[in-house]
């Protein structure tokens, strides 16, 4: 009698579970989670935290953002752990697409790197026409220069500038490669009173005694692009969600938000929309 009751309950439970899962299976749940892999400089500027709530409200998607240096951020997408990339390293992006992980890069935003250094500017960087010229001056005076050295977007831009004057500073006594993020690199540059290449946002937010000596030259332009990770490589990639972000970031609302970000705090925008 007792065991009969138990058996009945067990069978009823099994049947209900089966019914429920069958019901659940007939509805195709739309993937509402968008995994974005971006870089530390984008994230640390606060832009994503600023845009996120509006994006989620307007599109209904939940944005999951992870950040790392550009190299690691792209690696994450290669491993299938992201649906959309938001990075700023053209060569690395093109490599990613060349390997078949994404269809195209979609530049949408830009800003400028800056060259910062000791307040008295021993290398005479200020007033240079280009960053390349500034780098040449730093080399000629043997002034201390600290590099990110971590395959980040900033590091890649720095390498591009060295390349443009056909110089490889690796191993020089005045060139110190630290393999760390922008904040830490600035701390070390401040300690050693050295020059470094930084994104403006991180520098403005960083407490140090370094001064900004050069900004807004053509060769310090920093372009941000999104790349939708293709479903050809990862079948469950949330392509629809990624497309929703790409579309949203072009809306007037998003463009206005980007254009006014940082103005209140620093008196100038930190990012510019591409036309």
């Amino acid at each position: 009698m007792k065991s009969n009751k138990f058996k009945t309950i067990l069978i009823l439970t099994l049947v209900s579970v089966l019914l429920l899962s069958a019901v659940g299976c007939t509805k195709e749940p739309e993937n509402k989670v968008l995994r974005m892999s971006t870089t530390t400089s984008v994230n640390d500027s606060g832009l994503m935290a600023y845009l996120q709530p509006e994006f989620e409200k307007d599109t209904g998607y939940t944005l999951e953002i992870t950040s790392a240096g550009t190299g690691a951020a792209i690696e994450k997408a290669r491993m299938g752990d992201a649906d959309i990339l938001l990075v700023h390293s053209k060569s690395a992006e093109e490599e990613f697409i060349g390997e078949g992980f994404g269809e195209e890069r979609l530049p949408f935003m830009y800003n400028f790197f800056v060259i910062v250094g000791p307040a008295d500017d021993p290398a005479g960087v200020a007033g240079s026409a280009t960053a390349a010229e500034a780098f040449q001056k730093i080399t000629d005076t043997g002034s201390l220069f600290v590099s990110r050295g971590d395959n980040s977007g900033t590091h890649n831009k720095e390498n591009a500038i060295w390349k443009s004057i056909e110089l490889d500073p690796t191993g020089e006594s005045w060139y110190e490669s630290v393999g760390q993020g922008m904040g830490q690199t600035l701390t070390i540059a401040n300690e050693k009173q050295a020059y470094t290449l930084s994104d403006k946002a991180t520098f403005l937010a960083h407490e140090d005694s370094l001064a900004m000596h050069l900004e807004e030259t053509d060769d310090m332009k920093n372009t941000y692009s999104t790349i939708i990770v293709t479903a050809a490589r990862f079948a469950d990639s949330n392509v629809a969600g990624a497309q929703a972000f790409v579309d949203w970031i072009k809306t007037d609302k998003a463009r206005n938000m980007i254009a006014e970000f940082g103005v209140a705090e620093y008196g100038e925008p930190l990012f510019f929309n591409m036309d």
Binding site: A68, G69, G71, A72, I74, E75, K76, G149, D150, N151, G171, E176, S177, V178, G179, Q180, I188, E191, K192
Partner: protein
């Protein structure tokens, strides 16, 4: 497969940066262990072999320092050596010297405590024997050092092991500067942060191999000593 290739490449390739990383690591660990032992072993013997007022307090102090987290030691040294700190004029931050200082802070209490414990067990008997042949006071130190030389070697080796594996303090005060203060542990962390997992694992294995080799050498020494 890629992993094995990475390891073989690193082990048998002639990557000059890897060589430099190993050299800096060994140099740092050698001096950290040396200075920690020079202070820690005599201090430990003094503590273990003697009864004195305040011994209890000193023991508790040493044991507390044992629990000092490496990042806290790093923070202390960072604040002391930074340009805005009291010892800033020496410009020691982000040098191997700074890393050694932080590590000595961490390893000396360890060596002291282990030595004191080791010596303390038989201290009474040894003291009595020595007193019996008229050896007292500071003259005893030599005999304690000789008597315990083999276990002391193990303690020093343990100290070396801690030094070579440490990452928090050396990252903070060393800065992971390429060719200058980049050691195996900070290199592993950096490569991992960059997403180069194979390279990081290969570095880790090399670290283990180095540790193993040193352990083997010391083991041989201990065996030879025991056979005398």
């Amino acid at each position: 497969m890629e992993l094995i290739n990475s390891i073989l490449d690193l082990l048998f390739g002639s990557d000059p940066e890897l060589r430099q990383i190993i050299v800096v690591t060994l140099r740092m660990s050698f001096f950290s262990t040396l200075f920690s032992s020079l202070v820690g072993i005599p201090a430990g013997v003094l503590m273990g072999a003697n009864d004195f007022r305040g011994k209890g307090f000193l023991t508790r102090l040493v044991n507390t320092l044992l629990g000092l987290p490496p990042v806290v030691a790093g923070l202390i040294v960072l604040l002391l050596l930074s340009r805005s700190g009291p010892l800033g004029s020496f410009r020691l931050l982000y040098t191997v010297e700074a890393m050694v200082i932080a590590q000595v802070l961490l390893i000396t209490p360890y060596i002291t405590a282990m030595t004191a414990n080791l010596v303390g067990v038989n201290a009474k008997t040894i003291n009595e024997t020595l007193a019996g042949v008229g050896i007292r006071g500071t003259k005893r130190l030599k005999y304690f050092l000789l008597d315990f030389r083999v276990p002391f070697l193990s303690i020093i080796l343990a100290g070396f092991g801690r030094s070579i594996a440490e990452v928090g303090a050396v990252q903070m005060v060393g800065g992971n500067v390429q060719y200058k203060t980049r050691v195996m542990t900070t290199a592993i962390m950096m490569q991992t942060n960059m997403g180069h997992f194979n390279f990081a694992i290969a570095l880790g294995l090399i670290l283990l191999i180095i540790s193993f080799l040193i352990n083997t050498i010391v083991n041989r020494i201990q065996k030879a000593a025991a056979d005398d």
